[in-house]
Amino acid sequence: MKTRTLASILAIFMVLTLLAGCNGSAPTSDSVPSSGETPSVENEKPYDLTLAITVGSDYPDQSKVTQAMQELVLKELNMNLNLVLLPSSPEQQLMLMLAGGEDLDVFPLPSGNAMSYISNGYIQDLGPLLEKHSENIKKVYGDEYNIANISGFVYAIPINKERDYAGGMIMRKDILDACGIDVGENCSKLTCLDDMTAIFAAVHEKFPNMIVFGGSHIYTPASIYLGRGIDNLGNEYGVLLDPANDTKLVNWFESEEYLHRVQLMREWYQAGYVQKDLSTSTDSGTAQMRAGNLFCDFDLVKPYRDVEAELATGYPCVVFNFDEPIKNGVTLSDGWCIASQSKNPEKAMEFLDWMYGSAEFMNLWNWGIEGEHWSYIDGNKILIDYPEGVDMNSVGYHQNRGWTIPNQFIAGIWNGNPADLANVMADYNKNMTVSKGYGFFFDGSEYETELANLDAIREKYAYVIGSGAVDPETEIANFNKELYDAGLQTIIDAKQAQFDAWLASK
C-alpha cells in the first residue's frame, strides 16, 4: 500500500511538472527594459528588431562588433538590434526562418527568389511603407527607389552596387609574369574568351602541377546563370540574347554563344587545364587561389575588381572582363526585404531606410571598429587601411563584402581603390548598355510545377556540361530535350506574354 501511494504521488507530480512546463514557457511580454541603457530622450520602450546578415567567414571579434552595432542602433533609433549571422548562401536558413515564423524583420533577399517569396507570402510590400520612411533611400536611388517590384509589389530595396552581372577571368599576375605573358593594361591585349586558351597552355607548360582553371562548379563561363551579356529577366528559361535591341525571348541553352562557351570549357578540360572535380567543387575560386595552387577562376566583375581580388586572395591579380556589362533587372533583386512576420513593419522600414544613410553602421558591418580593425589614411576621411601593426592575417574583423551590404559607398573605401569609387561606380552604372527588360521581372507563380521540374533538370546538366566534364555534343541535345519535355516552351511563352504586356504599359 505504501509503495502504491508513493507511486501515485510520483505520477501526479510528473504530470504536474509536465503541465507546469507548458505554462512556464509563455513569453513575458511586459518585462521592464533594463534601466541603464534606455535613452532618456524617449520614454518609449525600444523596439526589438531582428536583422539577418550574411558573413563570409567567422572572425574572433564578431561579438565586439555586434555590440558596437547594437549600441549605435539603440542610440540613434531606440531599437534593440538582434543580429542573426547567416552563411554567404543563406537560402536554406532563410527558408526555415521565414516558413517557421521566427523573429525576423530585415533580411537579404537571395537573388532570384523574389517571385517565390511573394507567392509564399514571406515578405511585406514595401510600397506603402516607403511613403513613411524613404529619405535616405531616395537620396541613393532618386526616382528609381521603388524599381524592384513585380506588378507593383515592391519586394526589396536594391543593394547599392553595380547594376550588371558581367563575368570575367581573374588571373594571378605573378604567374603571368613568370610565364612571360603580357596581357597589357587591364587585359587590353585580350579580346575574347578564346584568347585564354594560349595563356592556359603556357601556364600549364610552365607549372604542370598547378590547377590552371578552377573554382566552384557554379562559376564557370558556361554554367553561371548571371552575366554573359544577356538578360534572363528573372530565370534561365527564356532570355534576351541582345537585350539592348531585341525583345524576343529565346532558349539560352540552344544559343550559339552557349554552345561556344561549352565547347571552350570542354577543350580546356580535355587539355588538362581544368580542375578535374570542377563539376562538384564547392570551394570558391578565391579560397583556392588563396590556398596557392590555382591560377585562374571565373567570377562576376566590376570596376576595381582586381583590388578586391588581391585583398581577398593575397596575390596580385589581373581581371579580364570579356562580357559586355548590361544593366538588367536581376541585379535589383539583390536587395533587402522586410519579413511578413515583422511585428512592426513601420519600425523595420525606418531601420532599413536608416541603414542606407548611416556611414557609421556600414563601416562597423563591413570593416569593424575604427582604430582597431581599420583606420583612415587620408585627411578627408575616405580611404581606409589596416591600423598599424595589424594585417590581413591578424585582423580581428574584416568582412570586405561590400556587395552584400545596403550602401557600401558611404562607408570607408579600402586603400587601393580610388577615393571617388562611389562616382566611378555611378558612372559605370550610368554609362552601361541598358536592357529593354530593365525593371521587368517574370512572375511565375502560376507555373510552379513546370519551374520545379525545369530547375531539377538544370541542376542535372548545367554544371556538368559547364565544367567540360562530359561531351557537349550529346549532352546538350539531351539537356534541351528534357527541358522542352518539362514545359520550357510554356514558360517562354508565358514570359514573353508578360514581357510584351509590360513593354506596352511603359
Binding site: 527558408m95 515564423g101 556538368v464
Partner: protein, 319 residues
Amino acid sequence: MKDKATKAQSAGEKKLHRKNQIRKWAPAYLMMLPGLLYFFINNYIPMTGLIVAFKKYNVRDGIYNSPWNGLQNFRFLFTTGDAVTITRNTILYNLAFIIVNTLLGIVLAIMITEIRHKLAKKVYQSVILFPFLVSIIIVSYISFAFLSADNGLINRTILEPLGKESISWYTEKKYWPFILTIVNTWKTAGYSSLLYIAAITGIDDTLYEAAKIDGAGKFQQIWRITLPSLVPTIITLALLNIGRIFHANFGLFYQVPMNSGSLFDVTNVIDTYVYRALLKIGNIGMASAAGFVQSVVGFVLVYLSNLLVRKLSPDDALF
C-alpha cells in the same frame, strides 16, 4: 427470477471488479499519461497539417486559411520525366540496403557474440558501430578522399601505379550503385548488428547446453537455435524498414555523390529530387505533397507485408 437476480449480482460484481481494477492500476495509468500526452501533442496534432499538401500555402493566411489547391501540388512529382527513375532508385536502393544490412548484421552479430574475450568483444563492437555515429558530411569527404579525380587514394595509389587510366568517379554512372551500397553498409551495418546482438543475448542458454549434450556442433547450433530465435526480430525490423522504403537517406544520396549532375540517373531519389526542384521555389505545399505520398506508400507497403507475414507465420505479425 433467480436467474435474473444472480445476473444482476454478477453484473454488480463485475462493475465492482472493474472499479477495483482501475483503482489498482491507477498509478500505472497516471504514469502513462505524460507519454500519451507527448505522443498526442507531438505525433497526432501535427498530422492535421497534412492538409497543407492540398493547399496553395502562403504564410499570411497560415495552414488552415490558405486557399485549397486540389491535387495541383502533386503534379510536379508525377509529370517529371524523372518520375520513373526516382521511384526505381528509391525502392531498389532501399531493398538492397534492407537485404544487405540484415544479412551482414546477423553475420556480424553472431561473430561478435561468439567472441569470448570480453575486451576484444567490446573493441570490435565499438569499431563497427563507429561509422554509424559519423556525420554524413564527413562520410562524403572520406569517400571523396578515396574517389577524387585529382588527388583520390584510388586513382593516385592504386590505378596509376598499376599503369591504369585514372577514373573520373564523379562523372561515371556505372560505379555508383556499388559505391552507394558499400558506403551505406559500412555506415549502418554496425548499428543493425547491435540490434541482433541484443536479440542473441536474450536466447536461453539452456538451449545451447542441451544442444551440446546432444552433440550439435557450432554451425548446427547457429542453424538450429540462433537463427530460428532471431526470426521475430528480423521480421519486425524488416517491416519497419519496408515502411520507410519510399524515404531515402537524403545525406547518402545528396552528399556522398557530391551532388554531381552526371550521376543523377543512378543517385536521384525522391528526397533529393524534391530538394533540387523546390530549393528555388520554396513551395511548402509541394514539399508536403511529396512527403504525403511517401507516407501513404510506406503505410500501404507495411500493411501488405504484414498481411503476408500473418499468412506465413501468424505469431510474428506486428498487428
